[in-house]
Amino acid sequence: MPFVFDHQPIRVTLHYRDHTGKTSEGRANVAYGSVRADIESFALALSQAAEPLTDCEIIGVTLTLPLRPEYSPPALPDSDRSRSGVFIFESVTEGDRFVMPIPSIKTAKLLTTGVWAGISIDQADPDVAALVDLMLVGDGTLAPQSYAQNDLFRVSAAYRQHRGL
């Protein structure tokens, strides 16, 4: 069954810090579908309205859009979060990498022959290739970036990692 998101309001969270260094937060929800620029204007107005009321410093704002699938297939008997498929992507800037773990990678997606059988992820598998393509090329509008916000351009390694082994 394809994913459909059960839309939730968007959260605007103000982060506060008092004179002892302790932090706290206050949150307002705004309607799903609101435009990002409009939410940012509202968040600024909210920060400015809250500032005269508090002895804390307002140190930041976070905008959060929750995406909850209406239905997800249940976890399979083979699922184990300590087994991950780790994809290491290189960005266009030398030495800049992005690591993407996929918890409980299906063992059917690992190589079955060669010295790396059972360890390396089979990048020729159509599902794996589709994921890699979505990470490198994107969906036609957006494509992910590295931590340093550089475009990703290739997978340098993809392997199974099992915590405790």
Binding site: F5, P9, Y16, D18, T20, S24, G26, R27, A28, N29, V30, Y32, S34, R36, D38, E40, S41, F42, S47, Q48, P52, L53, T54, D55, C56, I58, I59, G60, V61, T64, L65, P66, L67, P69, S72, P73, A75, L76, P77, S79, D80, R81, S84, G85, F98, M100, P101, I102, P103, I105, K106, K109, D127, A130, L131, L134, D139, T141, L142, S146
Partner: protein, 166 residues
Amino acid sequence: MAITAISAVGGVSLNISFTDKTGQSSNTTVNLPATATLAEVEAYALALLQEIETLSDCLISGATVSIGYGITGATAAVAGGNYAEDKGVFSFRTAAGKKSQITIPGMKEAFRTVGARSLDTTDVDVAAFTTLIVDGDGTIAPVDTNAEDLDLLLSARMRQRSELGV
């Protein structure tokens, strides 16, 4: 000083949550360009979750899109002022009759009614805040978790740190 601007820090973060057969959870994060719109991110997230679903034995329990902002011009915390745990608790009624609260940590003592826990909602600054919540800024107005408009301020009171057993 007073807050003059907020500006995005870093890119847009897409965090995907997984649950395995034992109920243990894990997650992975993807960074997206800072200029992405929420609609673009949601479309990309849907495509990515569909691909990941083919690769993982886990249940994909959800995802969140987060954008962090820095603040320009914020007033520093008041030395000796109220603690972050001393909160102004504003209760609003939604159009559906449900109660929804918004809190302000470190609420200034000056807004508290003498000898009571209630806050002075006639104060200009307090009224500006509650009006922004009820009426919005002309484009955006807050809602509760059921996406119902907040129609009416029911109460405003100070919840002190001592009430939390600290």
